[in-house]
Amino acid sequence: MDDSKSHVEHSHGYGIYILVWMALMTLTAITVAVAGINFGALTITTALVIAAIKSYLVLQIFMHLRIEQKVFRIFVFVAVLFFVITIVLLFTDYSFM
C-alpha cells in the first residue's frame, strides 16, 4: 500500500486541461447546432453520443481516471453497466407493449 506516496506525480499540466475545455466547448457548440437539423430518430442518438463523449473527456482528464489505478476504471465500468442494463431491462417491458 505504498501507492499513496507515488501520488505526487498524480497530475496533469495546465495545458491539457485547456485543450480538453476547448474540445468540450466545441462539442457543445456542435450539439446545439446539430439540434436545429432534424435527423428524425437520430437526433436523440446524436445528442446522447456527443454527451457521452463529453462525459468521457471529463472522466478521463478532469477526474484523472486516466492516471488512476485500474480498479477505479473497473468501478466506473460496473456502475455504468448497472445503469445501462437496468434501463435496457426496463424497456423490455415498455417497448413491447
Binding site: S4, T28, T31, V32
Partner: protein, 206 residues
C-alpha cells in the same frame, strides 16, 4: 471525540482510499439522478409529441450558456488542483474562487429562467400547466425536479469549494496533501457531467 485522536495517530493516510470512497459516493449520486433518467426516458417514450412541444418552451440559448459556464468551472476546478500540485497557493485559491463565481453565475441564470416560467403559470399545480396535456405536465414536472436537484448540487458543490478555499488558505491543503481538494473536484466534475446530459435532454428536443 473519543478514540478518534488515538486512532488517527495509528491509521496512516490513504489518499487512494479517500478517492475510492469519493468515487463510490459519486456512483450513488449518479444513480440518484439515474432513477430520474429512467423516469424521463420512459415518459418520453410514452409521450414523444408532448415532450417535443413542451421542450420548445425552454430557452436553448440560456441552456447553452449555462453549459458553457459549468464546463468552464470544471476547467478552473481542475486547474486549481494543478496549481496546488505546483505549490502555487495563490493561483489555486484564485481558480477555486473563480469556480465558485461561475457556480453562482449558473444559479443566477437558473433563477431567471425559473421565474420566467413561473410568470407564465408553468409550475407544478399552476393553472397554465394543468391545462396542458399530461405529457407536458410530466415534462415540466421532471424539468423542475431534475434541474432543481441539480441546482441543489451546484449550491452544495460551491459550499464545499468554499470550505476548500479556507483549508487552502489555512495550509491544511498543501502541495503534498491535497486529496481533500481532489475529492471536492471529483464531486464538482460529476455535477458537470450530470448537466452534460440534462442539457440536451431538456433543451435540445426537436
Amino acid at each position: 471525540m473519543s478514540s478518534q485522536e488515538h486512532a488517527a495517530a495509528h491509521v496512516h493516510r490513504d489518499d487512494v482510499g479517500s478517492r475510492m470512497g469519493m468515487w463510490l459516493f459519486l456512483f450513488t449520486e449518479m444513480l440518484l439522478f439515474g432513477g430520474m433518467f429512467f423516469l424521463y426516458s420512459i415518459y418520453r417514450y410514452m409521450n414523444p409529441e408532448a415532450f417535443h412541444v413542451a421542450a420548445k418552451e425552454l430557452n436553448t440559448l440560456i441552456g447553452a450558456f449555462n453549459t458553457a459556464i459549468l464546463l468552464t468551472s470544471s476547467l478552473t476546478m481542475a486547474l486549481s488542483i494543478t496549481a496546488i500540485q505546483k505549490n502555487n497557493k495563490s493561483l489555486s485559491l484564485f481558480f477555486q474562487f473563480l469556480t465558485i463565481l461561475l457556480a453562482l453565475g449558473f444559479m443566477v441564470n437558473k433563477y431567471f429562467e425559473w421565474t420566467a416560467k413561473f410568470h407564465h403559470g408553468i409550475y407544478p399545480g399552476g393553472e397554465e400547466l394543468l391545462s396542458r396535456s399530461p405529457g407536458e405536465v410530466l415534462f415540466f414536472g421532471l424539468y423542475y425536479v431534475m434541474t432543481g436537484l441539480h441546482g441543489l448540487h451546484v449550491v452544495i458543490g460551491a459550499v464545499i469549494i468554499a470550505v476548500m478555499m479556507r483549508f487552502t488558505a489555512k495550509g491544511i491543503i498543501t502541495q503534498t496533501n491535497y486529496v481533500k481538494l481532489e475529492t471536492a473536484g471529483l464531486y464538482w466534475h460529476l455535477v458537470d457531467i450530470i448537466w452534460i446530459f440534462l442539457f440536451p435532454l431538456f433543451y435540445l428536443i426537436t
